[in-house]
Structures are given as C-alpha cells and as structure tokens.
Symmetry: D3
Subunit: 243 residues, 6 copies
C-alpha cells in the first residue's frame, strides 16, 4: 500500500474534496490518497502573502504525513507554496501541482499555454517557469480574472470561462497543450482534453502519478546537499509544533 | 493491460536485454514491457552520426509498436535519438531516457550531475539540457572515457569507473542527485543510490514510470500543432516501410 | 523624520543588535532605524524550512511597522525571506539584503563573488541571482561552512574564515567586488573593503540606503498589478493577527 | 577549383534545381557547385519525421561528396537536418542554410524576422535559434501556411504569400532583416531585398559564401573533440553503404 | 558636502538645465549637484553613432569632475553612453540613468515597461536590459516616435504623448512600474506617478540617489580587476586632453 | 574590384601592417584591402576607456572609406569598438574581428575557447559573447597577461605565451576550436591550426572573408530600422569632421 498525502494548502474544505477526488480518480490500485488541508491559514491563495501563510500549513501537514508513514506528498496549489521547504522535511518525494503539470506538458507538446484564475497570480507562474527551466516552453499565460473560490460557487461560471479561455488559447497561442493553473480546476482536465482534442493538464492528478512513479523507482527527496533535513533548532511560539 | 515498448536504438541484443530487464523491474502489475531493437543500424551510439542512423530504427520500431497496440514508447539511449520525430508518429506518450532521468532528478534535488561514457557524447547531453530547460539544473557533466559497449564486456571495469566517478561527483559537484548517462548503466542505479546515500537515477526505469503515469492520466502526445502526424507523402527506397 | 524598519527575520537578539548597529551606522541624519525581530520563529536561518517560518515573522513585523508609520522596510537575512509577500503588505519600499548587496555590487563592478555561511544556503543565493537577473554577474559563490550563529559566538573564528575566503576570492574569481552573504557579517564590510582594496559589500547597510533613496524619490511598492494589497480574506488560527 | 556540394535533403528534383541555381548565382569564379539530392527519402521536409529521414540522405551525400573531393558541403533545407552528424563525417566545413541565413542576418541587422512555409515547422526554427544562440536576435517568426512544394507548383501563389508576409513583417516586427525559411524560396531574396529596401536573406546563397569563406581561411570542421570522425563500427542493413 | 556631477552627454543646454533641476529636486541636504554638458559633441542622442560621440564628452566631464573633487557621477542619457569607460576613469561611483531607473523599477515592481522617444533607440534599451540582467523584468518597450529635442520645444506635445503612452502601458502591459526612457522626461515622473497611481520612474533623480547611497556606504567603483584605471598611454590628437 | 577597408582602431602602425598583411593573405583575387588606422587616438586598446576613444577613430575611417567607395569595413580590434555606430554610418557590411572569429568558430566546432592578452579585457569578450548570442558556445576564456603591444616587440615572447595557452586550452577546455583574441595575433592562426590539429581562428582574416561573402550576396547593413543613417544634426568641436 502506497500512501500519498495530497495537501490542499488552503483551508477550503470544498476544494480539498475536489482535489482529493481528482487524486483518487487516477491513483493506482495500490495507492491510497490522504487529502488534507491545514486547520488554520487562508481560505484561498491568490498572491505571495497568501502563499507565505499557506507554506506553514503545508509544512505542518508534511510533518503529520511523515508521522502517518506516507510515501510522498503533493502540494495542491498552483504556486507550489513551500515546495523546497517541504522537501527538506520529507524523505519521500514532494511534488507541486504546477511543477507536475508543467513537466507533463513538456513531455507531450513542444510548448504549452497556462490558464489560471486572477491576473495577479501570473507572476507566480512566471517565477515557477523560470525556476523549473520552462520559460521557453510556455507560449502564453492567461487569466480568467475570477478568484479561486469562484470555482467552488456552484454557478459554473468560472468553469465556463476556463473553457472559453482554453478554446482561445488553442486558436491563438501555437502551443500543443494547456496547463490548468489552479487546483480547483482539477476536474475539468479530462473533459476539456476531449472537447479540445489536445492535452489539457491538471496538476493534481499529474502530481499523484509522479509521486507514484518516483516511489516505485525508489527515489525520494535527496538528503545529500541542500535539501537535507532542516538543521535542528528550537522553534518558538506558534511554530513549536513544527519541531 | 498496458503495453509499453522500450526501444533500444542500437542493435546490440545484450544491451536490449539489460534495458528490458531494467524496465520490467519497475513496471507496474498491469504493465507489459516489450523490449525491442532495430534489425539494422549501429551496434552502439556514440555521436551524432550514430544517432542519425539510430533515429530511423527508432521510427521503425515506433511504427511497429503502434501496430501492436502499445500504449507508449521509451527511447532507451541517453541522446534521446529521434524523440520529436517519434512523437509525430505516435499517439501515446514517447519518452527519452535522458529526458526522463533529467526530469526525475529535478524533482528530488535542486541540481544534478551527469555521468556518461565517452567525452564526445557530452555535447549531446548539453544540447538536451538546453532543449529540456535544465541547463541551470546541471551542476557538472562527467565522462568515464570508455565506449558504451564496455558496459557489456563482462569485466565490470566500466561499472567500477562509473562508481568511482559517482563518488567523485558526490564529493565535488555540490549536486543532490546523479543521472546515469547511458542505457547500459540501467542496472547500476539502485545499488549506487544505496551506496552513495543520494539518488542515482537511471533513465530507463524512470521513463517507463513516466509513460505509465501519462497513460494513466489519459495524456498522449499532442496531435494539435507541431507534433501532429507526419504529413502523408511517398517515402522512397529504404524508407518505404515507414509509409 | 524617515523611519526605516530593519527586520531581522530570526529571533536572535544579538544578531538584531548587530544588524541594527550596521543600519544606524549608515543612516542619513533624518533617518531613524527601528531594528526588530519576530517574537517567535527560528533562531537562525539556514535553509528553505527556516525561511518559510521566518517569512511569517517578517510579515508580522511589516504589519507592525506600517502601524508605526515607517516609510520602508529592510529584510535583513541574505535569503530575502518573504520579500514579495512583504511587498504586497507594504506601501513603502521593501528591500532584501541579498537584493541590495547584489544590486550595489553590479553598480561598482562588472562581476562579483559571494561569501556566505553554510553550503546548503548557496542554492538560495543561486535562486535569488536568477530572480533578480544577476546570474551572469556572479563569478563565484563560496561558503565558509560554519553556521550563522558562529558569527555571534564571540570567538572571531567565523569572521576570520570570512576574511580568508574573501582573500581567496580576490585571487581566484576574477571578480571586482565581494558580497557578504549573511546579515551577521554586516560589521565586516568596511574593514574588509579597506584590507582587500576592493568593494566588500554588506547588504544591511546597502538596503537601508536604497530604502532611503526610494523614499526620497517618492517611490513605494507598486500597488498596480501583482504586488497590490493582499486580497482581504479571513485568516484563521495562528495567522489571525495578520488580518 | 573549389568544389562545393549543395545537398537538397529532399528528393524533389525541381527543388534541387532551384537550389543549385541559387548557389551558382553567387559562387565565386573558382567555385564549382555540385547540387545533389538523395536517391531515396522524402519529397519535401515539413516536420521532425521528415527531417529524420532526410538526415540519412544528407549523410549519404556527404560521404559521396568526400569521395568526389569536394571542399565543403551545404545542407539546403531550413531545418538543417543532420548538420552535426554530417560534420562528424566531413573534413571540410558543413553549413546549414538556416544557420547561414541566421548568421548573415545578425551581421547586417540587430534583429531579424523569419518567414517560412507551414506553421508546424516553426518549432524547428525555434530550436535552431536556441542552438545557434540567436533566440534574442529573432523578433518574430511567420508561416505562410502553404506546404513546401507549393513553391514549385508554378502558380506563383506561394511566392506572393511570401512577399505579402515579408511586407507585413517589415511594418510590424521592428526588425532590420528578413530570413527566408525554405530552400525553395532561394530565388526570391534578391528581388524582395530590392522591393522592401531591407535585407531579405536566402540561406542557400549565404551558405555557399560561408563555405567559400571557411575554405579560403583554411578552416574545416574540427576533428578535435566532439565532431571527430564517427567511431568505426559495423553498420548493418540499409545503412551498410554509410560504412 | 557631497558633490555629485550630473553629466548631460549631449550639448543642449536646455536639457542640461532640465536634468540639473531634476537632480537638485531630490538631492539630500548635504549634496551639491554640478550639472554639466560637453562643450562639443551632439545636440541630442538618438542612436549608436550619437552615443559614440557623446561617450567622449562624458569622459571629458568625468575627468573634470575628478579634478573638482566630486564624489560620484551620473550619466544622464538613457543609453548610458560611456558607462564602463567612465567607471575606469572614476574612483567614485558612476551611474547611468537607464541603469538607475531599471534597478529602481525592479525594487518596487515585479516587471516594468519602458517609454522612450524614437523607435530606433529601443535596441539600445534592449541591450542595456541584457547587460544589466533585466531582460525578463521588462514587460514591454514603447516609443512615442518623436525626437529627443521635441521634449524641449515648449509645445508640450511630446510630454502629452509620453503621458498617453504611459496610460496605454498601464492598461496593456501587465507591468507594475514605468521607466521613462530619456533624460528630458525627468520632470514628468512625479506627476505621472500621481496621475497613474503607479511608480513612473525617472532615471536622473534615481541615479542621484543611488550615487548618494553608494558614497554613504563608502563604495566607489572597484579598482580591482577590469574597471581599474585605464592603462597609461599617450593619447594623440583631439584626445590629448583626456591624458 | 571589391575594396575592403580594414580598420585598425589603434594608432600603432606596426599593428596596422600586421593586420593588413593578414587581410591580404586571404583576400579573393578581386578584392583590394585598404588597411588604415586613425591619425589620432590610442596606441593600443586594453579596456573600455581605450575602446571609447578608438570608436571615434573607427567612425572617422568608415566615413573616409565610404568617400573612397569601399564595399565593406572590418573593425580589427577584438573588442569590436564602435561596431553598431559604424553600421549606422555604413551602407556596406561592417564586421568586427571578435564577431567574425566567434561566428566562424561556431561553424566548425560545437564550443570554442578564447585566448587573449590582458585579463582586464576578458569582460569585453564576455559582453560580446552575450551580445552575439554565443555565451553558451564559449567553453573558456584565457588571458596571457601581456599587453597588446608585447605582440609587436619582436621578442616572440607573447607569441610563445599564446602558443602555450592554446596548447593548454586544447588539453583542458573540451572545446573544438580556439579564437585568438587580438588583431595582433592574426599571423599566428594558420601555424597554430597546423601545430594543434584543430581550428585556431584569427578574426581579421575571418572578417575579410565575411565582408566578401556579404558583398557577393548583395547584403549591406540594413537601413530599415535601428541601423538607419545617423539622424543629421550639427556635430560640434572635434567632431565636426564626422558631419
């Protein structure tokens, strides 16, 4: 049995469920998904400030996941908050959903487009493209200009805007795949892939499969060098529980 | 049942067996590995000339694999010969072992080293790093200065040189993972990972798991845009069988 | 009167004093320095995990600084933890000491070297070089292989190692300036500049002068676009005080 | 007498004639052009699959050219198929027409535009820009959306589309030169240069002059390092003639 | 008393006054601005030829400034003509206004736009972005298509075009700050910052504050390495006065 | 008859002769070389200050060359001083010797080394590599640590140091070609190419052949866009003769 912890870094339980369902839909027979979210933090993540707070929640959860014996971790927010910090804490692999979706996109297309929520989050995607090495693989970035939680309001408006933006990207960008830029869009990927006739990639499911792959390969986060365990030191105040 | 075709682009059957074994060792329960090599071509691949010839063999095999109904393809030579051409031919995913190993390395370490065979092949690795976006993720490239087939001569000399070079890379490069730069080194990864206490990554097994992952995600090579099927045209002479 | 808040992101009061003194030593006549550190967090910052925790402390302090009416903020840890998040919170300028030192170095030399504490923090410096655009301006990165707090142990050993490393960098790197890679090295810069006969740059003092400069220019953090105020949303648990 | 072999990598004899004529039009008095094409392969090259096949034809011809004592070789397809492999085989210089045109463009303008045939080939041009170092020198890439052989259909439609696209590029791109992205456009360059009042560059003629230049300088392909002769090994099947 | 020499590299005295006024408007209490321009050269700088001539005037003035005991120098033309040459001549800091404005922009926004005069000068800005490391921080470059001296014709037309272009950049570029690309636009920055509600940055004032900052830090141009004093050698003819 | 003006940007007549001889040695039958140097300026060029002065001499000579009806111009100093300014002045091609040598090197090898005179000039070479796009094609830069004029002192010491450095580069750099980084080394290239068994490239001869090539192609400097003629304006003082 492989336990994979899928961490929704925000506190919205509806989104945790969406994400957990997307993860379970692709999990291998021997994989069990534990979908979690922090008990405290931000209800949605739409900027660097939100990300900084969410990163603490991610670390808390990684620590708990280790105690539960999980084999690997997914950070299910498109900004991959706390990714390298979580890797220091973890022995198994830790994969961000932006990272997973971008990697997958480069394996099935020469260039990809990104469709995300608010314009202000585009800079986060740009920085991740640079960090992961994919700046030149990204043909264009788009934002539907609706907040993250619009994806959970039940109206379907945000989903329709995502769809329209994907159609437009297909026509204009000259790219071969589309990366969905929010954990809350996870459930849209299969359908849009079918409708558009091109890969539309959700990072949650991609990250789950990458964690499974790395675990099967016997590859965890390297403990040689700069991702080694955090140096033991007394954490004070609200951070004591991370000791 | 998921059929994955693992293509050794050279004609050395011993290496095809090594590669096939490495692939089967990590294949998921529902995956069957078909390890093949071209009937004609080069016995080993150690430069651009060899790669150009090997690419034809890869295309032949991809075509045959499709006829057999395989779900995805692995190109098991560290130069990833014919990768984009094969993607045009394929509907499922096609993954090169350099590509797979480099991607995997960036998921478990901030920077990686490469250990390969002959110095003259380093330029091929450099070009792939650039194409895949990982130039800045590679801390150093090393060559053991032995030809590819030395890995199959039974003496163990090449294997020992790989080991020594890995140990040295660990000491000097400041990287967190090592990528083995030849399909013929596939069987060394697990043992060296254990001995060195850091991820030593074989691309054959990594590529198999990535193909499995993409297949499970319902993601094949994009047929929208520049990886679309080759435009139908009459191929003449020795290439007619690729029609 | 210009109030500049200098935030030591770790909880070591001795280091806060070192940093505060370095800041005051260069402050203009009309500038008052408020040197602070978080009440809770990590005693030193030597990796991504430490940085994630420290970022929260930085945000707390920025919020307090705004309430006090400060004109700008300095983040006095060489990893610039929480920089973009802090910029969302702030109306005045926010400058990290790595950022300030790197910028200053490119203004007085064509290429610079970095001398920092532990090797594991080099990756943080590398990522900042990439984010700020200075990858090609950095000739070499060095670590003295002592923890941050060794700079506060009174023995002078760490200081001597910094000096030796700077001398070696001068001989070998072909660079024209040296950037000191830790807030705790702030007091060494002037003396080493004199001894080496080349600019040795401390980020704390550099950041103070850059904040002063931006304030005098009437330039604060842009509130148009992706550094706009954080979107108002209920923060829960230990983060409520950041509302 | 300097013999220069101009290789049309596709099997269309009409295009071989176009290319040969363009080469002869600029050849120096002491230069003789041998325009050849493979006896087997693809009638036009419009993707990676076509290129992989064409590369074998290029290698065959380079081998024959060497036997004939030619001083240098031109690969007259805008994707420069088989370039590095051909360099391994050759002692004289080997120049691709994309390479030649891009180099020439950077010598007469700060930035250039590319006008090519099918949109799916743009990715090949992008990869060459990256390989040659000219990504930042290319202001824009355009495709007329007609296949390569439309240039040989006698209607003049493709030629008119090239002209229109060049005029548009002049108005919009902010570039100082235009690179024609297909060997079949070779004859258009002089006229368009005159009509547009800016350099419109054909790679066939540019490559011939570069080979002449390198030959006169006594510079052939380096046999020190990674472009050294292919390592001798038994080639089997359809590739035996390349031994 | 800190003397800062602000060099208008062209010979237009009206522009020297504009620039001097902008410099004095931000100078610290203890700073005295000496605004100068060459006695011979070009009346405005709108290309590489103009810049080459202007660079000599800059060097003359730097030499005079040193004789006057100035603490630092500003090169007040957006192409930063003669910057590295001037640094060889100077012991204090030398800052170009493009450099200063671009640095400042990256400190208050994640990406910036540039608004300059003639389209032909955009290439100069592009090269500076590359040299300073800010290519990826620049979202867009715009030209109002009026010559530099239109800013001094008293009609206000050029100023209005700058304003319109800034408004358009705010709407379209997705950037957080605007850099004004000409010394003659210095007086517009404060007002446009106010009107647009985002930082609009003038390099003259930014450079003055950066020189003040570096002087206060005790940092001058590095004389270790490649910015060392020019090697003494006999200068002949019109250049003798630079000896 | 094709007249090519080869401009030695420094005032050392011995070097002008060396350069002229190197140019004539490769000139085509129909080419006449006019080797010139400025009447006033610097006797050698070893830094940015020297380059700024030399650029004026280059512009003077280009202007004179145009009056003489030359077809193209070579700037025969490895820093390519005044290159873009000269292109504005010229209608024919203008090629710098660093540019020519670097371009040629990338046509015969995958990576090259540079061997130049003083270490302080290395930064100039680095900036040119970046401007021309060849940063990743340069494996290493070396300086013999002797001034330019040591190449003209008749002792042969500098020449021997160049030779030793080339031999060492061949052993250590993993590059396939060597670029000689000074016009005064022009005569060494052929001999060293022979001795080392790898291309050792002189920029003077390479530039002559590239000018010949561009002239034969009917390609001059683009007058569309940013290399258009300098905007006419009154030049004053010592620059009046450039009007």
């Amino acid at each position: 049995m492989t336990l994979i912890q899928v961490i929704n870094p925000n506190t919205s339980l509806a989104m945790t469920e969406t994400i957990g369902a997307a993860a379970r839909a692709v999990a291998a027979p021997g994989t069990e998904i534990i979908a979690v979210s922090p008990s405290q933090g931000v209800p949605s993540i739409e900027g660097h400030f939100d990300e900084a707070i969410a990163a603490i929640g991610v670390l808390e959860q990684v620590r708990r996941g280790k105690a539960q014996g999980v084999s690997g971790h997914v950070i299910a927010c498109f900004g991959d908050p706390g990714l390298l910090a979580a890797r220091e804490l973890a022995s198994g692999p830790v994969i961000g959903i932006a990272e997973a979706a971008m990697h997958a996109a480069t394996l099935v297309a020469t260039r990809f487009s990104i469709v995300t929520t608010l314009p202000r989050t585009l800079i986060i995607a740009r920085h991740l493209l640079q960090q992961y090495g994919f700046t030149h693989h990204c043909a264009a970035l788009h934002a539907i200009d609706l907040p993250v939680l619009a994806l959970e309001d039940g109206s379907g408006l945000a989903q329709e805007k995502v769809r329209q933006q994907c159609l437009q990207a297909k026509q204009q960008d000259g790219s071969g795949a589309i990366v969905l830029g929010c954990g809350g869009m996870a459930t849209l990927a299969r359908e849009l892939t079918h409708e558009l006739g091109m890969p539309v990639i959700d990072g949650v499911s991609a990250a789950v499969k990458m964690v499974e792959a790395l675990v099967a390969l016997g590859l965890g986060t390297s403990k040689h060098g700069d991702l080694d365990w955090p140096i033991a030191k007394p954490l004070s105040g609200a951070f004591q529980h991370l000791n």
